[in-house]
């Protein structure tokens, strides 16, 4: 056994050595899976969110090398990163679009886990930390997009600070402690919060939030990075107008995850109620749902009340988010007439949509439940994955690699020609192609293909031998 032809190589020795030592660390408590076939990304959307967090950490660390906080310096330094630093444009775009993707994935993750009843089965700790993480993620994104101190950032920071100040009881003291006083304080603290304090808090919460079973899907993750890069190429993040203390800013709309809040505030009622309490209702609903829903049912189909509640909340999120974007474009009008959100139609539409979506979904699920015969189980549909044989696997992989090489050259040329957006787009395409390569590679399993082949031959043989009236397919998988 010792003197066989296969001696462990240096790399595998080193790998084994490392793995055995990792055994003593916290990581080995995690059950880490790399799926061997395509899985729905919804199942591991949390892991994708975490990967985005890491990507944001890396790109953010790069941006830190050149960013200068301050009323005068911030905007110019970001412009410098964008225009002068090699690949600064790409790094900033990846950072920005990854932040959007992270907020989006976090929301998607929340709703998927909600509808599949994951807050049950003793997952309350994971659920609550997840909700806190979600809120902090949005705070992190908010502190981030204001580091570039443009017109919008000036207004957004003002709103953030004043919302803190006008919170009941501890508001002024809290604002003083978090924000300091004056924009010199705000900006340096915004920076400290964004690059260190909030990420550290997030890291600690993630430590509690992580379940023991984790799925890392390399192909899906590559495609995700690719899509982020492609989005950055098509919609490069804008600089906006530099804040000029001599020229007050015009109307600006916040990022998409805060336009809902913006719509509420624009209805003109008390700022703490509209800017704090009403949006907090949504968060509170999700926060308390595990302690209200005590049924033993997991599937959304069996929980008509909570499924309907979830759909109703989605309708709220959509309506407020879209409404928040709307501003009357007529520049000759009074700013109040342009910005005011009429409370009666706004809250009216919200109320109607809540009731309507709730009743429809609830009624539908109840009616469906009445139709289902107890004891009868739905037959799961069998999925047959596309499995390429050896020849096609090689062919596809080689073609994709050639395509990657060509795109690499194109991206380099585009970058040298000053077409940064195009270069970013092509880099995104390369990532997507790598995702496909990784998927084809993992799907290619000689054992499976052999088995398939044998089964086919067997079937053909059987069909020939039988040659009778009834051609049956024998299930003779050799395993």
């Amino acid at each position: 056994m010792a003197a066989t032809s296969k001696k462990p190589g240096l790399i595998s020795k080193f790998w084994d050595y490392t793995v055995n030592r990792l055994n003593r660390t916290v990581f080995w408590g995690l059950k880490f899976t790399m799926p061997q076939k395509f899985l729905s990304p919804m199942g591991y959307s949390g892991m994708l969110t975490f990967c985005l967090f890491l990507l944001l950490g890396i790109t953010g660390a790069f941006l830190m090398l050149f960013y200068v906080p301050g009323i005068e310096g911030a905007f110019d330094s970001v412009e410098f990163i964008d225009e002068e630093i090699p690949y600064g444009f790409a790094i900033r775009n990846i950072h920005y679009h990854a932040s959007n993707a992270m907020v989006f994935m976090a929301v998607l993750h929340l709703y998927y886990q909600y509808f599949s009843g994951r807050y049950k089965i003793k997952n309350e700790m994971i659920w609550v930390t997840g909700m806190v993480l979600g809120v902090i993620t949005i705070l992190e994104a908010f502190t981030g997009y204001n580091l570039l101190f443009n017109d919008r950032a000036e207004l957004a920071v003002s709103i953030g600070v004043s919302l803190t100040v006008f919170s009941p009881i501890v508001g002024p003291q809290l604002a003083q402690m978090i924000w300091g006083q004056g924009f010199s304080d705000f900006l340096i603290r915004l920076y400290a919060l964004h690059v260190f304090i909030i990420p550290i808090v997030m890291g600690i919460l993630m430590f509690v939030h992580f379940p023991r079973f984790l799925v890392f899907d390399l192909p899906m993750w590559s495609v995700m990075v690719g899509v982020i890069l492609i989005t950055g190429g098509i919609f490069p993040v804008e600089m906006g107008v530099k804040f000029d203390p001599n020229h007050p800013p015009g109307i600006t709309v916040p990022e998409w995850y805060l336009t809902g809040l913006y719509a509420f505030i624009r209805t003109g009622f008390d700022k703490f109620i509209t800017g704090g309490l009403l949006p907090a209702l949504l968060i509170a609903m999700f926060l308390f749902v595990p302690f209200i829903d005590h049924s033993r049912k997991i599937s959304w189909k069996d929980r008509p009340f909570f499924s309907a509640l979830g759909i109703a909340s989605i309708s709220q999120v959509f309506i407020t988010t879209i409404w928040g974007f709307y501003v009357n474009p007529d520049p000759t009008k009074n700013l109040d007439d342009r910005l005011f959100v009429e409370p009666v139609p706004f809250y009216g539409v919200l109320l109607v949509s809540v009731v309507l979506s709730f009743v429809v979904v609830y009624g539908f699920l109840k009616a469906r439940a009445a139709l289902v015969v107890p004891g009868q189980k739905a037959v799961p549909t069998k999925q047959t994955p596309i499995i390429l044989n050896t020849f096609w696997t090689y062919a596809v992989l080689i073609l994709l690699v050639i395509f990657e090489i060509i795109l690499n050259g194109m991206a380099l040329m585009a970058y040298q020609g000053g077409l940064w957006a195009l270069a970013l787009f092509e880099t995104g395409a390369i990532f997507c192609i790598f995702g496909i390569i990784a998927h084809v590679y993992r799907s290619y399993n000689p054992k499976v293909i052999e088995a398939e082949k044998a089964a086919k031959e067997e079937a053909a043989k059987a069909a020939k031998e039988a040659d009778a009236a009834v051609p049956t397919i024998t299930n003779s998988k050799s395993d």
């Binding site: 600070v161 007050p248 109040d336």
Partner: protein
């Protein structure tokens, strides 16, 4: 009582093996290491017979109180550390100061300024670009429109307001030539905020439209600065009385 014993037993089970060992020969151990063995003596249901001191449970409770007090006292000095966070990078003392147009760098004179126009300036002006850019120290000097008597060359045709909107602290702008109607009176010139549309009356800084009008006093009027015009026509800012009843507090408002 049974419950307590149970607790004690479970405590003993949790106790590490070495305490068990010391408990067996507790007579020989020096009194220094008595704390731990005491808990395991309780297992023998004869705590009172212990040679040293009171029963173990009371003693432990006493120690708990002491330890907790020690912990609290240890943390107490950190309470005033909160002022670390409430400190600021630096403020400036208000002084009597000529108004300098922040954009052109020239002192503002009555003869330079048309009626129905405004000039943005920092107060107090320090000369430091970063400090003077501070939005919370930005004010607008407004010369009222002719229909509000803005043509007279004295202090009565000028107003100064903090640029920080008292609704949510965005920066408002003076809109020249805007026709407004407040309580049936029509006049020219208006103060409007780009965030949520608060409007302020240019004559006294009181909100007349938008979200700020719904806020309770004094959170519905812009803070101001006292001003005077000297014999050359230069406009000076006087140190303000930053009380809500007087010139107001930036961001919080003023009683009108």
């Amino acid at each position: 009582m049974a419950e307590e014993e149970k607790n004690q037993q479970s405590d003993n089970q949790n106790a590490s093996a070495d305490t068990q060992v010391t408990s067996s020969d507790s007579n020989t151990t020096p009194p220094v290491s008595q704390e731990e063995p005491q808990t395991s003596i309780a297992k023998d249901s004869s705590p009172e017979e212990s040679v040293d001191g009171p029963p173990s449970k009371e003693r432990r409770n006493f120690l708990k109180v002491i330890a907790t007090a020690g912990g609290i006292l240890g943390l107490t000095p950190f309470i005033p550390y909160g002022s670390f966070f409430t400190a600021t990078l630096g403020g400036t003392e208000p002084v009597r100061q000529k108004i300098m147009n922040a954009e052109t760098g020239s002192f503002v004179n009555v003869s330079d300024m048309q009626p129905d126009s405004s000039v943005i300036f920092p107060f107090p002006r320090t000369g430091d670009v970063e400090k003077d850019s501070e939005p919370f120290r930005r004010y607008q000097l407004i010369r009222l429109a002719p229909d509000l008597g803005g043509e007279s060359n004295d202090a009565s045709s000028f107003r100064i307001y903090s640029m920080v909107c008292v609704h949510m602290w965005c920066l408002w702008d003076y809109i020249e030539g805007r026709e407004v109607e407040v309580n049936g009176e029509k006049f020219t010139g208006n103060i409007e905020c780009p965030c949520h549309g608060s409007n302020y009356d240019v004559r006294d800084g009181l909100s007349h439209k938008g979200p700020a009008i719904k806020q309770s006093k004094p959170n519905d009027a812009l803070p101001t600065l006292p001003l005077e015009v000297d014999e050359n026509g230069d406009i000076w800012v006087l140190p303000p009385d930053t009380a809500l009843e007087a010139d107001g507090v930036v961001g919080l408002g003023r009683y009108v």
